[in-house]
């Protein structure tokens, strides 16, 4: 074939030639001439369009090119082939099998041509490699010719990329043919990629190697060569150039190479020594990459691959944590070391043992134990944590590993516990024990007889004593957490032994023992009861104790502060959260606790209305607010059926005074929170509890009489004089509106809301209530992208200029943007679109900026404050891209006297200083001056934020900063003597960094 000269194509094709029509041929000839003469690159598009619409054929194009394909000047030949290739790239799918055959033969032949021609030849072959009608055998022929004739690595980047594309195209469509080449194909490719430097090409080349392996191409004797030609890039050392338009990140290359290296066990014998070598590297990135690659390999390796290298691997992994990681280097390396150890242990656990082989897991774990156990016993306990973490990482990989490790370690730790008298040392040991015990939960496996019954009672007694009597609160908490971890394993012992002890302590009135504040003791009891409620049978014991205590505290409420009731509610809340994970307890808790709390509250509210003072503390805002999360957490995880059952009781209670489902239900008067009347003020406060329940229901639970309920809430929110009640009613309304299905009903209720709000906002005594309602309803609609939300937001933007309501409206933007703790968040099934903050930002920030510029001096700050709240809640990466346009405004905001504005402006600027130092450099003078003056603010948080900004300034280019160095260092001397330690800490950090600026050794 190769003996054919440059004229081969026109001659071979002449037999197929048909006479073209005269006009078309003339136009084609003109375009070809223009292109080849090098004037008109655009002609290629015209020629291609002509082929596509049938004005002429590829054959006619070849004929028109005829003479220049034979020209002796390589430039002219190149130009001709370039035109043909560009046209083929656009029309390859129209080619006939016969045409393709001839073109392939022509192009293959041209691969021997002058080097100037080669790029265009490759482009043509790329076009042909995409043809479906390529005859069998041609793909192999093209590749063989490329492997033989082209020295790929001396081509330019783009042309090398073309070769990879041809290979990729053939691999995806001609797999069987290519496999017919056997190991020759692998070898050919190895030669093609050997020495590749460009990251764009490497990504493609790595993908080809992955496919070679994944699709079982024959590697033959070339396994090691294939490994060499890829592993030489490990670890990846690449920093994308600034303004890189290709967007290839270091991470892309790392992951792509890792996928190759960790894709086959055939590489193991070469890869593991390489990883062991790089684990000892001084470069943290190399270490990390090696560890992560090792972890990835463990997913497919087995005993066979690892056996030979286990001792070296362990000594590398061990040396890191024990000598360095925990002490000096990054936590990232530590975490990856532990992950790799975990993966190794898991890998060895997975392997199937044959009767005559050694159990590598056993010997591997034994060597770990041997190296770590003496650290656990050292009297100064300096290396206990690194050792414990290593052991836990290995033990956590499988049940077998867990048994092996804990069998050795737990007795040792118990022994150490008795040896160490100091509480801090004992705490460390308890925390380690807890770590090992927690691992056991992973296997969902209870090992009875792990502790003997008498030992167990001893453990429980110790835990009780530590939880209640240990002065150090951290030790006490550790004991409570340990009880919570052990309780599900030994529920009987805990409910039989610990619950009664705690109950007894709660009831005792040993006020005379002054050594220990009785209130703190009760507090500890309540915390311990909550912490240990991690098993359904225990929950049934602890919940009644907590409720009983709540009733008792309420009766004595005159003597005690509401704080005691709040504490009980906090414990109930924790239990409720733990019950969410225990299916059977979830309904028990709801059914027991919700009616009880409602009954106590209703009763207190009734007594209130008959002018008795008893039980009044229960109605205080802080107590009701502490009950809200309890009821909410008890409701969010209910199944729709059970939730429907509960809602059929609770809503009629509030709308119709249906008290029959409450545990105590004989009351002297009726419960009618939505009726008018002075004496019903106390009853109305309970809307908070209604809100906690009804706004936490799953979205598919229908609420009976919903429209009536919404109207009542609306009326209450607009008219009630008590801010707590009015706000709660507004939140409840908003919570329901957010979940209300779209449609006419929703439109009507929203219209009703707008009709109530607008006159309220305009004038009269209830402007504040109307604003609160507007804010919550706006939030409810912004979250779900409801079309009305923009109208309501505009209304709020307008109110920023209101002399009376402007400041409160500005504060309200916090509420719009922040996650609300009790209603309108994901946890209570609200309709929250993830990008709502970004969307709100895009829609409204230009209006805020405009409003600011148009506002009078007395209300300007309101716009800044609203803007601050919006910016403060945006994800920082979004901020950094958007902020430069707002920078002038932010700089102005630094001079605002409002501390909320100052604080949020500083926290916006701080990441910007780190991420966009070039832009910020332009304003260095203003920034230095403002930051320094804010370091003397009367508000601690502002001082701290200003110092952090002063610190972040040091990431600006040194030359920009040096003129300010002396001044900043002088000014920062003052906050070094701030009365608050947290401020001094920031001042020290900032000043230290300024000292280093432009100084040797930085």
């Amino acid at each position: 074939m190769r003996v054919l000269g440059p004229t081969a194509l026109p001659c071979a094709w002449a037999v197929m030639a048909a006479a073209g029509d005269g006009a078309g041929a003339a136009a084609l000839a003109a375009s070809v001439r223009d292109f080849v003469a090098g004037q008109q690159d655009g002609c290629a598009a015209e020629v291609a369009a002509g082929v596509k619409d049938g004005s002429w054929t590829v054959l006619q194009l070849v004929e028109a090119l005829g003479s220049c394909l034979e020209n002796t000047d390589p430039r002219t030949r190149g130009r001709g082939i370039q035109l043909l290739s560009q046209v083929l790239l656009q029309c390859y799918f129209q080619l006939q099998e016969k045409e393709v055959l001839h073109l392939v033969l022509f192009y293959e032949n041209r691969l021997q041509d002058h080097h100037l021609v080669i790029p265009s030849v490759l482009q043509g072959l790329r076009a042909l490699s995409m043809c479906e009608v390529l005859s069998p055998g041609l793909a192999v022929s093209v590749l063989k010719t490329i492997f033989q004739e082209v020295h790929v690595q001396s081509l330019l980047q783009l042309d090398r990329h073309t070769v990879y594309s041809i290979i990729t195209n053939f691999m995806s469509t001609r797999e069987e043919e290519l496999k017919g080449l056997g190991a020759d194909f692998t070898f050919g490719f190895i030669q093609v990629m050997d020495g590749e430097k460009d990251p764009r090409n490497l990504l493609v080349a790595f993908q080809i190697v992955r496919d070679l392996i994944a699709k079982n191409y024959t590697l033959g004797p070339f396994v090691e060569e294939l490994f060499e030609v890829t592993s030489c890039y490990f670890p990846i050392d690449f920093t994308p150039p600034p303004n890189d338009p290709h967007g290839i990140q270091r991470e892309d290359l790392i992951l792509s190479l890792r996928a190759v290296l960790a894709s086959t066990t055939q590489f193991a014998e070469f890869l593991l020594p390489l990883l062991i070598e790089k684990l000892d590297s001084d470069l943290q990135s190399a270490k990390l990459d090696s560890l992560q690659t090792l972890t990835a390999c463990c997913a497919i390796y087995g005993q066979k691959e690892l056996q030979e290298f286990l001792p070296s691997l362990w000594s590398s992994l061990r040396r890191e944590p024990l000598l360095q990681v925990f002490q000096t280097a990054s936590e990232k390396v530590e975490a990856e070391c532990l992950a790799a150890l975990h993966a190794l242990s898991a890998c060895l656990s997975r392997s199937v043992l044959s009767s005559d082989t050694e159990d590598l897991l056993d010997s591997f774990l034994s060597s770990i134990l041997q190296d770590c156990r003496h650290h656990l016993c050292e009297p100064d306990m300096k290396l206990v944590w690194p050792s414990a973490k290593l052991l836990q990482a290995a033990a956590g990989a499988s049940l077998r590993a867990y048994h092996h490790v804990t069998h050795n370690v737990l007795p040792l730790l118990l022994e150490q516990y008795t040896k160490h008298p100091q509480s801090s040392q004992r705490r460390t040991i308890l925390e380690m024990l807890l770590g090992f015990l927690e691992l056991q939960q992973k296997w969902g496996h209870v090992e009875e007889g792990f502790l003997s019954p008498s030992d167990l009672e001893l453990v429980v007694d110790h835990l009780i004593r530590l939880a209640l009597c240990e002065e150090d609160s951290q030790s006490s908490e550790a004991a409570m957490e340990a009880a919570g971890s052990l309780a599900p394993i030994y529920p009987k012992v805990f409910s039989g032994r610990m619950v009664p002890r705690l109950e007894e302590e709660l009831q005792s009135e040993r006020e005379e023992e002054n050594s220990w504040d009785p209130r703190s003791l009760r507090q500890r009891c309540l915390q311990a009861l909550a912490a240990m409620s991690t098993h359904p049978s225990i929950v049934r014991e602890t919940v009644p104790v907590l409720l009983q205590h709540l009733r008792k505290v309420q009766k004595e409420s005159e003597a005690r502060s509401p704080q005691d009731m709040v504490s009980v509610c906090q414990s109930l809340h924790r239990v409720a959260l733990q019950c969410q994970q225990l299916e059977e307890s979830c309904w028990y808790f709801h059914q027991t606790v919700v009616p009880c709390l409602l009954a106590m509250a209703v009763q207190a509210a009734m007594q209130e209305s008959t002018q008795t003072l008893l039980g009044k503390a229960l109605l205080e805002e802080e107590v009701l607010s502490a009950m809200v999360p309890v009821i909410s957490a008890a409701t969010t995880h209910l199944s729709p059926e059970l939730a429907a059952q509960s809602v059929s009781h609770v809503v009629p209670l509030f709308l119709d005074g249906e008290v029959s489902f409450l545990p105590q239900n004989s009351f002297s008067c009726s419960f009618q929170p939505f009726e008018d009347g002075e004496c019903l003020e106390a009853q109305r406060r309970l809307v908070a509890l209604l809100m906690a329940f009804v706004c936490s229901l799953p979205r598919n639970v229908a609420i009976p009489q919903q429209e009536r309920l919404l109207r009542e809430l609306l009326a209450l929110s607009c008219s009630c004089n008590c801010p707590f009640t009015a706000t709660t009613a507004a939140k409840c309304f908003a919570g329901l509106v957010n979940k209300h299905p779209e449609g006419q009903q929703l439109d009507e209720i929203l219209q009703l809301g707008v009709n109530r709000m607008e006159p309220g906002l305009a004038q009269g005594p209830c402007r504040m209530q109307a604003l609160t309602l507007l804010l919550w309803v706006t939030k409810a609609l912004v979250l779900r992208y409801h079309p009305l939300s923009s109208r309501l937001t505009d209304k709020l933007l307008g109110l920023l200029g209101d002399v009376e309501l402007g400041a409160a409206t500005a504060d309200g933007f916090f509420l719009l943007m922040a996650e609300s703790p009790d209603v309108l968040h994901k946890g209570c099934h609200a309709d929250v679109r993830i990008m709502f903050r970004q969307r709100f930002f895009t829609d409204n920030v230009p209006k805020l900026v405009q409003g600011f510029h148009g506002a009078g001096p007395d209300v300007k700050a309101n716009y800044l404050k609203a803007l601050s709240h919006v910016l403060n809640h945006l994800p920082k990466p979004v901020l950094v891209t958007e902020l430069p346009t707002l920078l002038p405004l932010l700089l102005e905001a630094l001079s605002c006297s409002d501390r909320v504005v100052q604080l949020s402006t500083l926290s916006c600027l701080q990441p910007l200083l780190l991420e966009a130092p070039q832009i910020m450099s332009l304003h260095v003078n203003t920034l230095v001056t403002k930051f320094l003056s804010l370091t003397l603010s009367p508000t601690m948080a502002v001082r701290i934020a200003a110092l952090r900004c002063a610190h972040a300034l040091t990431s600006l280019p040194t030359t920009v900063l040096l003129p300010y160095k002396a001044r900043v260092i002088r000014a920062l001397a003052k906050p070094l003597d701030d009365k608050k330690r947290l401020v001094r800490k920031e001042a020290v950090a900032a000043r230290g960094e300024w000292f280093l600026l432009g100084s040797p050794g930085r």
């Binding site: 290396l383 001094r984 040797p1000 050794g1001």
Partner: protein, 146 residues
């Protein structure tokens, strides 16, 4: 032998209260110097047990700070440099009102007296920092680890 680093000082409710002043205490001074890097090892002075909280004495009211440091071996050639780093760190981090005394834990170094004398001499400290090579090493010791 490497010693365990103390964790970050936990923030107390009192420290978060705007009104209540927090006096400068031993732990605060210790926190300033414990993370200074050793000039020779990739370790901090705390990890080498060169500085310990019990060897830090501060009197906020009288504006005095005394720090004893313990070289790892009695012939440690870096003792002066370590002392200098501690001293510079304190100068940069404490209000000017403080009188600083940085010296070697008695009986732990061969040239204890000479080193102490050097560290106590203001002019010699200032002169040392004029030497750009010395300043470079000190700055490296004081640089935050990335």
């Amino acid at each position: 032998l490497i010693y365990r680093r103390s964790g970050e000082r936990p923030v107390t409710a009192r420290e978060e209260d705007e009104e209540l002043p927090d006096s400068i205490d031993d732990r605060e001074i210790f926190d300033l110097i414990r993370s200074i890097n050793d000039p020779e090892h990739p370790l901090t002075l705390e990890e080498l047990n060169v500085v310990e909280q019990v060897r830090v004495k501060v009197n906020d009211a009288e504006s005095t700070v005394a720090v004893e440091f313990t070289p790892t071996i009695p012939h440690c050639s870096m003792a002066t440099l370590i002392g200098l780093s501690i001293k510079v760190k304190l100068i940069r981090s404490l209000p000017e009102r403080f009188k600083l005394d940085v010296h070697i834990t008695p009986g732990t170094h061969a040239s204890e007296h000479a080193v102490n004398k050097q560290l106590a001499d203001k002019e010699r400290v200032a002169a040392a920092l004029e030497n750009s090579h010395l300043l470079e090493v000190v700055n490296q010791c004081l640089s935050a680890r990335s």
